[in-house]
Point group: C2
Chain length 123, copies 2
C-alpha cells in the first residue's frame, strides 16, 4: 500500500521539546511507515518562535516551504525564504528562527538511525 | 560552510535516461556536497511526459511541489497534486506521469547508497 499524505491535510501538533518556542511538527514519512533510511518531517515555527540551538551527530536536509526566517549555522546566520534548501552537517550548532515578522514553514529530513543503530529522535 | 540553494535559482537540465520523456532534474543536496545518508533531487516533468516505469532496491520519498499528475505504484494509480508526500518502497514498480494537462514538479529523495555500499544513481 502506498504511503500518501498531503502537507495541507491536517494541522501540525505542537512540539514539546526543550529550547523550542512556537514550534509545531509532524512526521510525514518515518520509521512507523517502514521508511528504510530517512524520515521526512514537517515543521512550522510561529512568528517570534524558534527551534533549539543545538547539534547532534546526524545531518538535516531542509526545504523551506513557506514564510521567512533565519538559520544560525555555526557562527553564521543566513536569511531563509521559500524554496531554500540546506544541508546541515552533523555536529554543527544550528537553530531556525521565525524572526522576520512571519511564520517559518519547512521540511526537515533526518536519517532514521545514527551511530551504528541508535534511533534518531523524531524519525 | 553551509550548503544553501534555492528551488527557483536556476533552470533544471534535461535528464537523459532511458524510459523518460520530458524530464528535467538536478541534485540539490547530494554525495558531492558530503551528504552522509540521503540525496535530495528536484524534478520537473513537462505536460505529457513521464519518468521511467521501473523499480530498484532502494526507496524514494517524494514531495509534490507544483503542477499535477499521476503516480503508478505497483498495480495502482493515484492522482498527484501540490503538497502530496509519498513513500515509494524498494522493489515496487513505479512511474510519475504529467498526464493531467500541466507539468509535474516534485522533490525525490534517495539514499546515497544501497545493497551494502553500492552508489545510488543520481545521488
Amino acid at each position: 500500500m502506498l504511503v500518501k499524505r498531503n502537507l495541507h491535510d491536517q494541522p501540525l501538533p505542537p512540539l514539546a521539546m526543550e529550547g523550542t518556542q512556537g514550534v509545531s511538527m509532524r512526521i510525514l514519512v518515518g520509521r512507523s511507515d517502514g521508511a528504510p533510511n530517512f524520515a521526512l518531517r514537517q515543521f512550522s515555527v510561529a512568528a517570534g518562535g524558534h527551534t533549539p540551538h543545538h547539534s547532534h551527530n546526524y545531518e538535516h536536509e531542509v526545504v523551506v516551504i513557506g514564510g521567512a526566517g533565519t538559520v544560525t549555522y555555526g557562527e553564521e546566520r543566513f536569511p531563509l525564504t521559500e524554496g531554500d534548501v540546506l544541508l546541515v552537517q552533523p555536529n554543527v550548532m544550528h537553530q531556525f528562527q521565525a524572526d522576520r515578522g512571519s511564520d517559518l514553514k519547512f521540511l526537515c529530513l533526518v536519517p532514521v538511525s545514527f551511530d551504528c543503530g541508535k534511533t534518531t529522535p523524531g524519525s
